[in-house]
Symmetry: C2
Subunit: 348 residues, 2 copies
């Protein structure tokens, strides 16, 4: 979606690949001391001294991961960076650089790519990451974005998915499910718009949910908070595919089971209202929605005091022996087996 539809448009073919790269990347500045060489050579050069290097990568496809009908390109650029920065945060590392590759079909004018890169620039500034390289090419259909994020950490600070123990507490930051519900609202509005383009939607009751969908933030703040609390999670993952799926990843990779308590899952009041309006079960949304980019982690039981009074965190369950399985304990106190109903890009 181009925000200024009446502007004159410039064909990207006119600029050529190198011209386009120069044009789109000229606003990227280097702020990280570890960035020795950025865009403009065969590869970027980084220096992490005695720190460890953490790397993650993501591929976003139009029509699969995003719909430009309700996702403005600037927001898309921002969110693409956030999704990758979030993976680095989930290692308890500090994001430092990203590479950004895009492929676009001819239907995108230069101004559309400028919007996308404005969002990428905005996010890279907010998170303090340098854009150090990438690739720009054409696609046969739609927009494709591939981002690789790089971070640094001391070895002793890095948190993997596989360190949870059988008695650890399961903790999540922020609240869950809002981003998915924001998407449902945007899809409903898209359908309303298709029927009546003059309809002015009142999105006021949904602002938080829509913001969580269109402009999520990665929990880059938690690493510092963990340090202040003198707390090191035993395992950690970010909530990108859905809480249920992420809990199962921690369990399987750590070789433990878990009890997740339905009543403990933190949800925003706006989500409760909208779930009533849509007549949808809120726990289903919280378990299976995705893109919250909160952090899900486990801590030793004796560390409970360190997070007890902290508004950033909610204890939602505890780990068990692997043989006990992975369960949701409902409000009615029945145990049902957890299923990964999270978002699956490969489903038909």
């Amino acid at each position: 979606m181009l925000e200024n539809k009446d502007q004159s448009r410039t064909s990207i073919g006119e600029l050529g690949e190198f011209g386009l790269i120069d044009h789109l990347t000229k606003h990227f500045t280097v702020t990280q001391a570890s960035t020795l060489k950025s865009i403009g050579d065969d590869a970027a050069v980084l220096d992490f001294g005695s720190k460890k290097v953490v790397i993650s990568t993501d591929l976003l496809i139009e029509g699969v991961h995003f719909d430009l009908a309700y996702m403005p390109l600037k927001h898309l650029g921002y969110k693409a960076v956030v999704a990758n920065v979030s993976d680095i945060c989930a290692m308890n590392a500090t994001p430092t650089q990203i590479t950004v590759s895009i492929a676009v079909s001819n239907r995108f004018p230069l101004e559309a790519l400028e919007e996308l890169f404005a969002g990428i620039t905005s996010a890279s500034k907010f998170y303090g990451v340098d854009v150090i390289g990438g690739d720009t090419t054409s696609s046969q259909k739609g927009l494709i974005i591939s981002i690789t994020a790089i971070g640094e950490a001391n070895l002793e600070d890095i948190v993997y998915r596989n360190g949870a123990q059988a008695t650890d507490l399961l903790v999540v930051s922020g609240d869950i499910g809002a981003a998915y519900m924001g998407l449902q609202i945007l899809e409903r509005e898209k359908q309303v718009f298709q029927v009546n383009p003059n309809n002015q939607p009142d999105l006021e009751p949904y602002t938080y949910l829509i913001e969580r969908q269109l402009k999520p933030e990665a929990r880059r703040d938690l690493k510092e908070l963990f340090e202040k609390l003198e707390l090191k999670p035993t395992s950690m993952i970010d909530v990108s595919d859905g809480l249920s799926s992420e809990v199962m990843h921690l369990c399987k990779q750590s070789g433990v089971g878990c009890n997740l308590y339905e009543e403990k899952i933190p949800v925003d009041p706006q989500l409760i209202n909208v779930c009533e309006e849509f007549n949808i079960d809120i726990t289903t949304i919280a378990l299976s929605g995705g893109e919250d980019y909160e952090l899900l982690f486990t801590i030793k039981m004796e560390d409970y005091g360190k997070i007890k009074a902290n508004p950033n965190f909610t204890v939602i369950g505890h780990m068990t022996q692997e043989s006990e399985g992975m369960h949701l304990v409902t409000r009615a106190n029945t145990k049902i087996q957890l299923k990964a109903r999270g978002w699956n890009a490969l489903e038909d």
Copy 2:
């Protein structure tokens, strides 16, 4: 192109995203000491101690960068790795890890992806790089491959594009133009096949050219050779887009001009024969063809003795003052201005 067309096919949707990733990545083994954590977490963790980290990334789109009608998937996987490893070699660094992300439409059965990953595995073994992560998702159309390559180097060994001086010699490894001509032959055979599927092509006279197109190799060997020769290039780039375009990159980034001598450009005898057969000017192919993955570099004039007798290298020109411009000196000894006619993915 699936090589075993009569095998039973497995839908990738059946496996789901995580099942597919597990299935495709289970053959990747870790051999690099610097790989602390590989596939299976939010990010990989690397340790380069006091060495510098070099990173490059590439995005390959079906119908833009490759045509599955004549590019077997196994070769495509191999070549995708080579293209990225080549960028690391062009920094005079040692490739150590790659991440591989793919997006595929439903028309690809699992067996097709296995072929692709067999090629990726084969190249990663040959070049000694660990596959440490990636992303697997669906596309609306065709196959998309995004690879990020990581390498290591001592700071004093790294060679950038911008270090050439006005009197430096311009040198290229191997021979140039064969990969592009291999593509022309494959495209001709594709058209013949479309007219007459029973035609058995005789590709014997073109084996070298076709191999250069379907199974190119990165010049990972040159770093060691430079060390043995006690030679450090002043600037370097890999020949992926075409010699002319790459020479101009070195000139522009170094702030120098150049004289490139037509008669010096190294070409294979098979290329000469086929250019006659196709009635194409061989210099045009050598200047504008791409995907040779040879290294183009500059050396100080006093280092000429170190490469003079070496069959790996050919001096093809020298750098000049920037004000003198960038020229091709023809066999007839006329000077014509260099133009970047190299492959441009964004051209209409």
